[in-house]
């Protein structure tokens, strides 16, 4: 934790998308430009060898952060810093680009259906010229397949011959083939069945310990996030609502949205229990509410929340963007059952 430069950092990162209709149609309908603020000013840092997770509901911008982090999108504002270098600068250098990889959500779309497994896994090896001879390359592919729990004989097969979980293993093997240090994982298990999800999560944790990997982990599933994270950021409408060490977040969630989210998850321990779900839905990121974006759904909202956007401020060992927490009004909202049970 005390390492001087974090592996990965973003500062005031923002990414806006122009979702206006075509110019002529807009002119005829006399519409304004429509800007979707997918990510609207977030900052965090990930120390080497640790995992930071971003959680939130669909449309909160977590997947956009993932794509910004590996350069698939360019930021509208703010900076992405990879091991002390600006990301754009780092991505121009092959030996830096090699150090970052991404694992995707859909195991059916993340492997080229026309390629053999050996070619899929070897693509990064070839792209970075890591191994020159064909036989050394085949050996490396076999080694990677073994590492993720598949058979070296699988390299001759095509992706459609594998189940979802096996394909996700192939994706991981491919990502590992360039010896990366930083992995961005965008919902790596949400398309998988639970028993397979457990296999993949265990594998990812094992690889992190063995290879000292740094993860940026994106998920909508709080239970999954709890199992893998050192720190967790809760996102709502393109901003961080709360950023805290994993255990702190689950023991004492501070932001009303975090509490509502935890309360909403149906849990095995809760057979027949009544819950009071948070009302309303996530507003459109094109026309976000004034002030704190959560205020229309927040039981603690007051006039200040409607007017003024809260910034992320320290609260204990967490960072919380909430006026109510800052003013000490958050006791009015009960802790979610999970946190109560733990206390």
């Amino acid at each position: 934790m005390a390492d001087a430069t974090p592996m990965f950092e973003v500062r005031d990162l923002a990414r806006h998308f122009d979702v206006s209709r075509p110019f002529l149609q807009r002119l005829v309908a006399r519409e304004e430009k429509r800007i979707l603020r997918a990510v609207d000013g977030i900052s965090f840092a990930i120390p080497k060898g640790t995992t930071l997770s971003l959680v939130g509901e669909s449309g909160c911008g977590k997947s956009t952060v993932a794509r910004l982090s590996v350069g698939l999108y360019t930021p509208t504002a703010g900076a992405v810093i990879f091991d002390g270098r600006d990301l754009a600068e780092a991505r121009a250098l092959a030996d830096q680009r090699r150090r970052m990889q991404m694992i995707f959500q859909d195991p059916y779309a993340s492997l080229n259906p026309r390629w053999r497994v050996a070619d899929i896994i070897a693509e990064p090896i070839r792209a970075f010229g890591l191994v020159t001879s064909h036989s050394a390359q085949q050996d490396r592919v076999a080694e990677l397949l073994t590492q993720v729990g598949l058979s070296p004989l699988d390299r001759q097969k095509f992706p459609h011959e594998f189940s979802g979980g096996q394909r996700q293993r192939i994706s991981i093997a491919r990502a590992l083939s360039s010896n990366p240090e930083f992995l961005v994982c965008d919902e790596p298990t949400s398309a998988l069945d639970v028993s397979v999800q457990a296999q993949i999560l265990n594998l990812m944790k094992e690889l992190q310990q063995r290879l000292g990997l740094t993860y940026l982990f994106i998920s909508h599933n709080l239970a999954v996030v709890r199992q893998v994270s050192d720190r967790i950021g809760v996102m709502y409408l393109g901003r961080l609502a709360e950023l805290a060490p994993a255990e702190t977040l689950f023991r004492t969630p501070r932001h009303p949205y975090t509490r509502a989210l935890m309360e909403a998850i149906p849990d095995l321990e809760m057979t027949g229990r009544e819950r009071i779900p948070v009302g309303g839905e996530v507003p459109s990121p094109i026309t976000p509410p004034s002030g704190c974006a959560f205020h229309p759904r927040c039981p603690l909202a007051n006039d200040r929340c409607k007017r003024e956007r809260p910034e992320l401020k320290p609260a204990g060992d967490a960072m919380v963007a909430c006026h109510a927490v800052e003013e000490g009004r958050d006791d009015a909202m009960p802790m979610p059952a999970i946190a109560r049970d733990a206390a």
Binding site: A198, N202, D267, L268, T271
Partner: protein, 328 residues
């Protein structure tokens, strides 16, 4: 549950898919009952046959799939051999269906009011004005704000969560006795999911509607269902009261499935996992389909397929609960 006659009885249901590589058995020997007012959860991994069971009941199996054996009885009458038109009438009136994607249920060309009124007037003896009033009541009931104004909106004018509420209203407005809900909350965000589950639960309780809830989310089942059936490779592995199956599963597969769910209330170093994957329908092993992955496998499991056996609190298709095996 009680000694009232079951509303739905599924007996030894077998669904086959003829393909060019031979006939695939998608469901085999599936039997269960649902009592009036009861919520039966059906869980399992993708491909286990849980959605197909629902589709077979509402008569919407995708061709070339067909019921090859067994019976489905609704209120004591066979419905698996009904003609399409009869089944369609039954589906609107007596059995409601809710699917994962609300857009497949709602017609984008008509207002939600039109669709609700049409369903109500088709199945209930009400005139259009009364039906419209009833439709507004239903929209209020499922928690759509300003229902009287929004009734004339088109489906695309509603958000995802609101649309699923409209689908629920549409499934319930003819006051069916049974609802078959296939992954009704999977496409929704957690906070909306919680609202929809709460709504389904309340409505089922108030109206005494029975429900078959198909989902892969054990949390949803744990909260909503009275009983749960765990499916594996086209068969029921275990069926019993939800508390028992979730906390003290008897079948090694259900036990493994429950254990592999990441806990929300603590961090574990290593999650319990079931190695391997569910077999494809074309390669189901001899004996118990779970035997290659089962930690408690023994000789008999590899040869003979177990039927559902009494396992104290639940019924499990596992030779561990065979009295003869236990004795021997």
């Amino acid at each position: 549950m009680s000694n009232t006659a079951p509303l739905l009885q599924v007996k030894n249901l077998r669904v086959e898919f003829p393909t060019r590589r031979g006939t695939l058995v998608a469901l085999d020997d599936v039997s269960f009952d649902i009592a009036p007012g009861e919520v039966l959860g059906v869980v399992g991994e993708s491909g286990a046959g849980k959605s197909m069971t629902g589709a077979a009941i509402i008569g919407l199996l995708e061709p070339p799939g067909r019921i090859a054996r067994g019976e489905i009885l609704f209120a004591g009458k066979r419905i698996d051999n009904l003609r399409y038109e009869q089944m369609r009438r039954l589906r609107g009136k007596e059995i409601g269906a809710i699917f994962q994607d609300p857009l497949t249920t709602l017609n984008p060309l008509y207002t939600v009011g039109h669709q609700l009124v049409e369903t109500i007037t088709t199945h209930l003896p009400l005139n259009p004005a009364e039906a419209r009033k009833r439709a507004i009541e239903w929209l209020e009931h499922v928690g759509i704000p300003a229902a009287a104004q929004r009734i004339d909106s088109y489906p695309h004018e509603f958000s995802g969560g609101m649309r699923q509420r409209v689908v629920i209203a549409l499934a319930l407005c003819a006051e069916p006795k049974l609802i078959v809900a296939d992954e009704p909350t999977t496409a929704l965000d957690v906070s909306i999911q919680a609202q929809v589950i709460a709504l389904l639960k309340t409505l089922a309780r108030e109206k005494g509607t029975a429900m078959m809830l198909v989902t892969h989310d054990m949390g949803v089942i744990a909260e909503t269902a009275d009983r749960v059936a765990v499916m594996y490779a086209g068969r029921i592995a275990e069926i019993g009261p939800v508390r028992e199956v979730v906390k003290h599963a008897n079948h090694p597969y259900s036990a493994g499935l429950m254990a592999s769910i990441p806990p929300l209330d603590r961090r574990v170093e290593r999650l319990a996992q079931i190695d391997g994957a569910m077999p494809r329908l074309s390669a189901i092993p001899q004996g118990c389909a779970y035997n290659p992955r089962c930690p408690q496998v023994f000789g008999k499991c590899r040869e003979l397929r177990p039927d559902l056996l009494d396992a104290v609190t639940t019924r499990a298709a596992c030779w561990l609960y065979d009295t003869e095996t236990a004795r021997g």
